[in-house]
């Protein structure tokens, strides 16, 4: 049951990461010179979203 | 095992029980000598070694300025590793590490492709021992490079990023040390293992399920088996992509870790 719960919990971060990087690719394709500004932002967003997945993973072991 | 069996047996409501694939299916002992046990992945490893050495020696023997056909194909792989991975990730003095990166790439690639090779169909990289062995080489290499470049204490000092409040240094150092010494090799090995294991497991699910459906009495199930085998075939093609990609990622991360250790300042 925990396993299935964790599997469901990964859906959210997966969608978030996909959205973040699609937005990054779109922006860089439109404005390549803005890459230096956009990439750290995207990485921060990715870290936050991925942290949710890791938290779910940890809770899977905790609970 | 219980989960996959539960899932598949939930789908197939019959009297006779379907047993799905389990990690035990990857463990195929052949001869037991007591102190060592020869398993099928070990034989595949021998095959991989022979194949890799043959490819490398045949591709680079009589390496000439104007390449022959075989040398041309070999050069494509070599150039990909040399220019696409090693030079990008390590930097100017990448040539020292080329044998390591290239050998690892070829080894992991062939090990992965063994999952889709006819009559073998057993990836050694789906056994955790092989990714661990490959990671051990990378682990030794990048720590050796780091200690040699920065000195013993300098390497630990190098791990802590600049611009940090002094009170935070011990905590962050703990975190960085855990990342450098534990999590990086762990994720490197587990990524390769997990991808190969799960991919092969997926194919096994489709093929074993299709087989079960085919040999079932109900004719409707025989019809469904076509779909299952078709999905297995599609997954097989998809797996070949994943196998090449994972070999690339493994070599890329190995080069990246060496490049980080080789870097002057972060």
């Amino acid at each position: 049951m925990n396993l299935i719960g964790y599997g469901i919990a990964t859906i959210g971060p997966a969608l978030a990461i996909g959205l973040i990087f699609s937005a990054l690719i779109n922006s860089v394709a439109r404005q390549p010179e803005a890459k230096n500004v956009l990439q750290p932002l995207a990485i921060l967003g990715f870290a936050v979203a991925e942290a949710l997945a890791i938290l779910g993973f940890v809770l899977f072991f905790l609970a | 095992m219980s989960l996959s069996a539960a899932l598949t047996s939930g789908a197939v409501v019959t009297a006779d029980e379907f047993t799905g694939p389990s990690p035990a299916d990857f463990y195929q002992p052949m001869w037991d000598f007591g102190w060592i046990e020869i398993t099928r992945p070990m034989l595949v490893l021998v095959l991989v070694t022979i194949l890799a050495c043959w490819i490398m020696l045949a591709g680079s023997r009589n390496a000439s300025v104007v390449p022959s056909k075989g040398q041309f194909y070999f050069e494509q792989i070599y150039d990909f590793v040399r220019g696409g991975i090693a030079r990008d990730m390590i930097g100017p003095n990448y040539k020292k590490y080329l044998p390591l990166i290239f050998g690892l790439f070829l080894f992991v690639l062939l090990s992965n492709l063994m999952a889709s090779t006819p009559f073998v169909q057993n990836p050694p990289s789906a056994r955790i021992a092989v990714p661990i062995a490959a990671t051990a080489v990378v682990y030794i290499a990048y720590h050796y490079v780091g200690f040699k470049k920065h000195g013993f204490l300098g390497y630990f000092k190098f791990m802590v990023p600049a611009g940090l409040a002094p009170a935070m240094v011990p905590v962050i150092f703990l975190l960085e040390a855990a990342t450098f010494f534990l999590i990086r090799p762990l994720t490197l090995a587990l990524r390769l293992f997990g991808n190969m294991f799960a991919g092969h497991m997926l194919i096994l699910v489709f093929v074993l399920g299709g087989e079960f459906l085919l040999f079932h009495d109900n004719w409707l199930f025989k019809l469904f088996s076509v779909g299952a085998f078709g999905m297995g075939f599609l997954m097989q093609i998809f797996e070949i992509l994943i196998q090449a990609l994972q070999a690339y990622v493994f070599a890329l991360l190995a080069a990246s870790y060496i490049g980080t250790a080789e870097a002057d300042e972060h």
């Binding site: - | 095992m1 389990s22 990690p23 035990a24 990857f26 463990y27 002992p29 102190w35 060592i36 046990e37 020869i38 398993t39 992945p41 070990m42 490893l45 021998v46 991989v48 070694t49 890799a52 050495c53 490398m56 020696l57 591709g59 680079s60 023997r61 390496a63 000439s64 300025v65 050069e75 070599y78 040539k95 080329l98 044998p99 390591l100 290239f102 050998g103 690892l104 070829l106 080894f107 050694p124 056994r127 955790i128 021992a129 092989v130 661990i132 062995a133 490959a134 051990a136 080489v137 587990l190 293992f193 294991f197």
Partner: protein, 201 residues
């Protein structure tokens, strides 16, 4: 705490639930633990591959790349030399062509000048010839006229003397006198001192 750790390690290594997941030597550990024989084989395999790559493959390939770079650079240098030679040949050819063209135009100019000179010479010659011929003719005509007038004068003189002597009946053929008379008369006639009368009635 130590008891916790040891029991955890023991669970990890020894008990995969007896499923044969693959850990340890006999494959009874968890699947994320390495099988001993496979680990040894894997390290040996990677060692062999890395050794071959390190000793044989990469040096050969790098040497080949260096040679290829040298060959390409040499080829470029050769191409540059060939281009320079071609440029020199073209320049030479063009200079030769220009020279030939200049020569031709000079020849043409010379020919034209020569032709003009020839024509001028010819014209001059013809003019001179024409002038000479005209002069000759004028001279001849003048001479003939002179001659004619002289012979006419002597004829007229003799005739008139004859006529006069026939009238007079006496030979008036005294040379000096008659000559002087007739000449004087003619000179007076020419100068218009006497007007010629009608000889008839």
């Amino acid at each position: 705490m130590l008891a916790h750790v040891t029991t955890l390690a023991g669970r990890l290594v020894a008990s995969g639930g007896g499923e044969g997941g693959g850990g340890g030597n006999d494959g009874t550990g968890l699947p994320i633990l390495p099988h001993t024989g496979e680990l040894i084989f894997g390290i040996i395999a990677i060692g062999i591959i890395l050794f071959v790559a390190w000793k044989k493959v990469v040096p050969a390939m790098e040497q080949m790349y260096a040679e290829r770079t040298a060959a390409i650079e040499g080829g470029m240098k050769q191409a540059e030399e060939a281009q320079a030679a071609a440029a020199a040949a073209k320049e030479q050819y063009e200079s030769q062509l220009a020279q030939a063209r200049a020569e031709a135009s000079q020849i043409r100019e010379n020919a034209r000048a020569e032709g003009a000179q020839i024509v001028a010479e010819m014209r001059e010659q013809a003019n001179a010839e024409a002038g000479r011929i005209t002069e000759n003719a004028t001279k001849q005509i003048a001479a003939e006229r002179q001659q004619a007038s002289a012979s006419l004068r002597s004829e007229v003189g003799r005739l008139s003397t004859d006529l006069a002597s026939k009238i007079v009946g006496e030979s008036l053929h005294d040379e000096v006198r008659s000559k002087g008379t007739v000449d004087r008369f003619l000179a007076e006639l020419e100068s218009g001192q006497i007007r010629p009368e009608k000889v008839g009635n």
